[in-house]
């Protein structure tokens, strides 16, 4: 269990707190979404959970370990994939990049090999082991960055805008693979996103605004409110807005569906 309890954090002594009295929990096997506009404190939350920063007030614990006393223990348990893949890839060869974390853990070569192969499998990059990491497309670099974290076999995984650089088709595919990873390992998953379709896929949502938790609850309840969607600057897929307008015109469609489902509802085949 990741537990943030009444945490406050500011980056500089005179700054406004980036997060203020925030409480968030993530249980193993759960997928928790964190949504909100730029600068609302989403990324600060992921840094707190990863133990990269410690709160000035309140506390953060991961499976009972306090980030203040045992930051390294927490970092072993929690994996964090950052937003910009360009500035987190440190090795010129794909498999070396994925091996970087396990190497830091001091694992034997055979175990590193196993983890590298498995992680590349999960993100669908098997066969590209010896490719040059910096020469890959942004979307593939993001998958490399994800594999590099998966190879550390974390119990919790935090993804900061995991599909920001991807085309729609690849996006869904990657999310499916991440869900599979979760089902296999029973791990906890945190997804920081501004995309409503990704938020909908979560078990629970926290909506951040100005460094505070603005709303919290099940996706249907949080996202069902148009005013909340606007306030949290959520990127609503066009299909959702379309479904709502068709529904308003009296057509028998359910809100929050993909185009294919809409077509099936209107013209059953």
């Amino acid at each position: 269990m990741i537990a943030i309890e009444d945490a406050t954090y500011r980056y500089g002594p005179g700054d406004e707190p980036a997060v203020r009295d925030v409480s968030v929990s993530v249980a193993p096997g759960e997928m928790v979404g964190i949504v909100g506009p730029n600068g609302s404190g989403k990324s600060t939350l992921s840094r707190l959970m990863k133990g990269l920063i410690v709160p000035e007030a309140g506390r953060v614990t991961v499976d009972g370990r306090d980030t203040r006393d045992d930051a390294l223990g927490v970092r072993r348990l929690v994996g964090l994939v950052f937003q910009n893949p360009d500035s987190q890839i440190v090795n010129s060869v794909v498999e070396d990049e994925v091996a970087f974390g396990p190497e830091n853990l001091g694992l034997p070569a055979s175990e590193i090999r196993r983890r590298v192969d498995q992680a590349l499998d999960t993100v669908g990059l098997r066969g590209r082991e010896r490719a040059e990491s910096h020469a890959q497309s942004m979307a593939d670099k993001q998958r490399i960055a994800l594999a590099a974290v998966l190879a550390m076999e974390p119990r919790y995984l935090i993804l900061d805008e995991p599909t920001a650089w991807m085309e729609p088709a690849k996006r869904t595919h990657l999310l499916e693979r991440i869900r599979e990873w979760q089902q296999e390992t029973g791990g906890g998953l945190v997804v920081v996103t501004h995309r409503m379709d990704e938020a909908r896929a979560c078990d629970r949502l926290y909506g951040m605004l100005h460094g505070r938790v603005d709303v919290e609850g099940f996706p249907d309840r949080v996202l069902g409110d148009a005013e909340v969607r606007r306030r949290l600057a959520l990127d609503v897929p066009e299909a959702y807005a379309l479904a709502e307008s068709l529904r308003a015109a009296g057509l028998p469609v359910q809100p929050g569906q993909s185009v294919d489902v809409l077509a099936e509802e209107l013209c059953p085949s």
């Binding site: 970092r75 830091n104 040059e132 910096h134 550390m152």
Partner: protein, 267 residues
């Protein structure tokens, strides 16, 4: 993206013989070629050293055209320095043009230095082209490991340099991006920009900010993956293979020939 990133002399993935050699072999091999170039007599010893260089180049033959294109401008520089050395070195005059005197010892020295520096640059380029920066770091660490007993943080310093090298292509890309962006809104970032404080700021501040941000994110991502916490292991267990033995033999034979020729036969 602004076209293709100039990769210059940074690592190119591949499967050539040079790629497969152990990084330590390549590092020490480079050091041996440098030594060979420095002791070689002209012309016979140097011929041996260049033959060795050529043989090494054959180990990554597909990279040679690109390497030649990158190093070509360097020849102009070497030639310019050569001319300078010919002129300023005193000694028996070969010919004179006005008050400029070309000396025989100057010509000899220029040829020697020119051949030496080209071979050294060429060989070390082959090293960085076929070896990932972090592997070079590992090899340096192995070679200079004894310094650790003197409480010198070898590994940290080497890793910092190596990661810095990894990011050179991105840095170049970033620089080109900023230049294009500022030119796109009216700045001619030519020679007169050097004198214009405002234009320099337009170039340097975005560049500095981008790199600070990148450096910070990079450090964070390495921290997040527990870099520097304990003793590191490696995916590629380093062991010398038959290829490395072969390479060492080739190096030894050429070096011995070079020494014999340069010191005894044609000193």
């Amino acid at each position: 993206m602004l076209g293709s990133t100039p990769r210059f002399l940074s690592y190119q993935a591949g499967e050539s013989i040079l790629h497969r050699l152990d990084a330590r072999t390549k590092l020490l091999g480079t050091a041996v070629v440098v030594a060979d170039a420095l002791i070689a007599s002209i012309p016979a010893g140097m011929a041996v050293a260049y033959a060795l260089g050529l043989l090494i180049g054959l180990g990554a033959i597909h990279l040679l055209p690109a390497l030649w294109r990158t190093l070509r401008p360097l020849l102009v520089l070497i030639a310019l320095f050569g001319v300078l050395i010919v002129i300023i070195t005193p000694g028996h005059a070969l010919f004179r043009v006005g008050f400029i005197v070309a000396s025989r010892p100057g010509l000899d020295l220029a040829i020697q230095l020119g051949l030496q520096s080209f071979l050294i640059i060429y060989t070390s380029s082959l090293l960085t082209l076929t070896t990932p920066p972090l592997a070079i770091a590992g090899a340096l660490d192995w070679t200079l490991g004894f310094l650790r007993h003197l409480r010198f943080p070898v590994q940290d310093v080497i890793a910092m340099v190596a990661i810095g090298l990894t990011f050179v292509p991105l840095l170049i890309e970033e620089t080109r991006k900023v230049i294009v962006a500022q030119r796109a809104r009216g700045a001619d970032l030519g020679m007169n920009a050097m004198l214009d404080e405002n234009a320099m700021a337009a170039l340097l501040i975005p560049l500095l900010l981008a790199n600070l941000r990148r450096g910070e994110e990079l450090a964070e991502s390495m921290d997040a993956r527990l870099y520097g916490v304990g003793e590191r292991t490696s995916l590629h267990e380093r062991h010398f293979r038959r290829d490395d033995l072969l390479a060492a033999t080739v190096l030894a034979v050429f070096t011995a020939t070079d020494v014999v020729i340069s010191f005894w036969l044609h000193p």
